[in-house]
């Protein structure tokens, strides 16, 4: 009874546009108060305690640091130089510029940890470049939005950090390693429909006439950006730093590159960078903290067990349940962002994962793939919002292009379900 109320109140508040954190906190508090009506203060002292406990975890510190890192690399001028270098390699053939956008977004995925930051960095360079070469702005926005979604799969990734905090059996290094192959596959999967669409519709006719940057000069300019993922991923692999420390080392590296080497930033830029990334982190962290209250009320009310039993005994079988979960998450993902999906659903789904003995790392990669798809599935597509704003188009105009990219990346998810080794081979090989 109280359980039903918890969910009805939560869903109603959310649909009415109440901030998700507030909806989680209020529904959780209401359920706790009703369940403990007889006790002192209605048991509500658990509310601030769980708020504090939900937030007071050292691994979460990686979130503000990776958000800061994304914001700095966004302004460091690295994206532009990587683009020039990529053009020097692949040349100016028809449909090549979208390929460059995807490859650079994947590469920046090895530096930044969030999709929208990646879409901003790649979009600010590539959307104008594609427009000059004769690609329709809506197509350019679709390519950038979809390509930036590979960011949360390719390590480092804020999504994996949140998942790791929620699931004790999945360490950050293991998740980072597990995301590598599916992330690269997702990027490659995007290239196929993109090139096909570009050629079929005769886009980018002007591209062949644009100048090609000289190889060595553009390589020399791009070297600082090329070295960044080596520093971050290599440093973590070598055991020099924890994920949080890797982010901070890369922050100072990015500041050095932006201020001293490329001179795209000055000290005055630090204030807006720190303010914006601080606020963005706080928005995420507040939802994390308030979800702690919701999760506490879920567990104390004993709600999860009966739901798990009902699902497990539904006769759908392992893959039936998995398909149902993915279908449900795709629908939910049209309205909810990735971090909120993790915070709300991971505590609910973990007993099912344990029942079927699914590998928690594999399941984390699947969920993240799902969230990556959601980042460019209209109407709530955070990456597309960013790229459409840069391109100056409405999101509806992208629908005719993103559909093919969604299908293509969805097939990668099917592959990871059928062949779990795609995710699990690398972390095992690296010994995580």
């Amino acid at each position: 009874m109280i359980g039903t109320l918890l969910f009805v109140a939560f869903i109603a508040l959310m649909l009415l546009g109440v901030p998700i954190g507030a909806a989680l906190g209020l529904a959780g508090a209401a359920a706790i108060a009703l369940a403990n009506a007889g006790t002192q203060w209605f048991g509500l002292l658990a509310v601030p305690q769980n708020f504090y406990a939900g937030l007071g975890k050292y691994p979460l510190l990686a979130i503000p640091m990776f958000v800061l890192l994304g914001s700095i690399f966004d302004r460091s001028g690295v994206a532009l130089r990587l683009v020039n270098f990529a053009i020097a390699i692949v040349g100016r053939g028809p449909g090549m510029l979208p390929v460059v956008a995807i490859v650079v977004a994947m590469f920046l995925g090895g530096i930044s940890g969030s999709g929208p930051a990646n879409a901003a960095a790649v979009g600010s360079v590539m959307i104008a470049a594609m427009a000059r070469a004769g690609y329709p702005p809506a197509f350019a926005a679709s390519v950038v939005g979809a390509a930036a979604a590979t960011d949360i799969l390719i390590p480092p990734s804020v999504a994996f950090i949140v998942y790791s905090v929620l699931v004790s059996g999945a360490s950050v290094p293991a998740l980072f390693a597990a995301g590598m192959i599916p992330g690269v596959l997702a990027g490659l999967a995007l290239i196929v429909p993109t090139v096909w669409i570009a050629r079929r519709h005769g886009m980018g006719q002007l591209e062949a006439s644009l100048p090609k940057p000289p190889f060595w000069a553009s390589f020399r300019d791009a070297i600082w950006g090329l070295a960044a993922p080596v520093l971050i991923l290599g440093g973590m692999r070598a055991g020099w730093f924890t994920p949080t420390e890797a982010a901070v080392v890369a922050v100072f590296y990015g500041l050095f590159v932006g201020m001293v080497i490329h001179r795209t930033m000055t000290v005055r830029d630090l204030f807006p960078i720190l303010r914006e990334s601080g606020e963005l982190s706080a928005i995420i962290l507040l939802v994390v903290a308030l979800a702690g209250i919701f999760a506490y009320s879920l567990s104390t009310l004993g709600l999860i067990d009966p739901v798990t039993k009902a699902i497990v005994n539904s006769g759908l079988g392992e893959y039936g349940v998995l398909s149902l979960l993915i279908l449900m998450l795709i629908v939910v993902g049209m309205f909810l962002d990735g971090v909120s999906i993790f915070l709300i659903f991971v505590p609910l789904l973990m007993p099912i994962v344990i029942h079927y003995r699914w590998d928690p790392v594999w399941f984390g990669v699947l969920l993240t793939l799902k969230v990556a798809l959601g980042q460019f599935t209209p109407p709530l597509a955070v990456n597309l919002m960013v790229s459409c704003r840069i391109a100056g188009v409405r999101m509806e105009e992208t629908v005719r292009w993103v559909g093919w990219m969604l299908v293509s990346m969805f097939l990668v998810m099917v592959l990871v379900i059928v062949f779990p080794e795609l995710a699990l081979w690398l972390p095992r090989k690296l010994g995580y």
Binding site: M14, G17, G21, V47, Q49, V83, V125, F271, L286
Partner: protein, 179 residues
């Protein structure tokens, strides 16, 4: 350095270009610069402490792991302080699909409802966490890492909850005015 062939657009890039500039300049009675400066200072400190940790461990083989406790505290302060600014600017994550559709009157009503719910939650949080702090002081609890009184840390939850509640109330009032 060779001149870039594909020059970036003239518009400013980065998060300020991504987010609607209008919500950065939200007009409030109490200036948001208070939260903004605190946010900048705390973010800077977090980065510097963590970086110092790496350097010290690299050069001296020692780690000052006790800074972990302080860093976690700073992160909580960040969530509350910058969170307060994000409440005033109405930038919380929410489902906009229904709330931002329909008539202007409906949108205004739902915006006010959302702001009021945030106010309600943090007003409740202020009262409850003040009670927790009271316990910390009465029982003289100390922190596990550095061993300072627990209330030095926990006092900021009720204080900042009041601030967030007031910011939500301010938003509630501003969204009530007809523009």
């Amino acid at each position: 350095m060779t001149p870039p062939l594909d020059a970036p657009p003239e518009t400013p890039v980065g998060p300020d270009a991504v987010h609607d500039p209008a919500d950065y300049h939200e007009k409030t009675v109490v200036s948001l610069r208070i939260e903004d400066w605190l946010t900048v200072i705390v973010m800077g400190l977090l980065a510097l402490i963590t970086f110092a940790n790496v350097l010290v461990r690299y050069f001296t083989d020692q780690s000052f792991a006790w800074t972990e406790e302080f860093s976690v505290f700073l992160m909580i302060v960040l969530a509350l302080v910058a969170g307060s600014a994000s409440v005033a600017r109405n930038r919380q994550i929410r489902i906009e699909y229904f709330a931002d559709g329909g008539s202007a009157e409906r949108q205004r009503l739902l915006a006010r409802f959302g702001a009021f719910m945030v106010f309600l939650l943090f007003a409740l949080m202020a009262v409850l966490s003040a009670r927790v702090v009271y316990d910390h002081i009465v029982y003289g609890e100390t922190t596990p890492g550095i061993g300072v009184p627990q209330w030095w840390y926990s006092i900021w939850l009720p204080v900042m909850s009041v601030a967030i509640a007031l910011r939500a109330l301010g938003l509630f009032v501003r969204r009530g005015r007809r523009s």
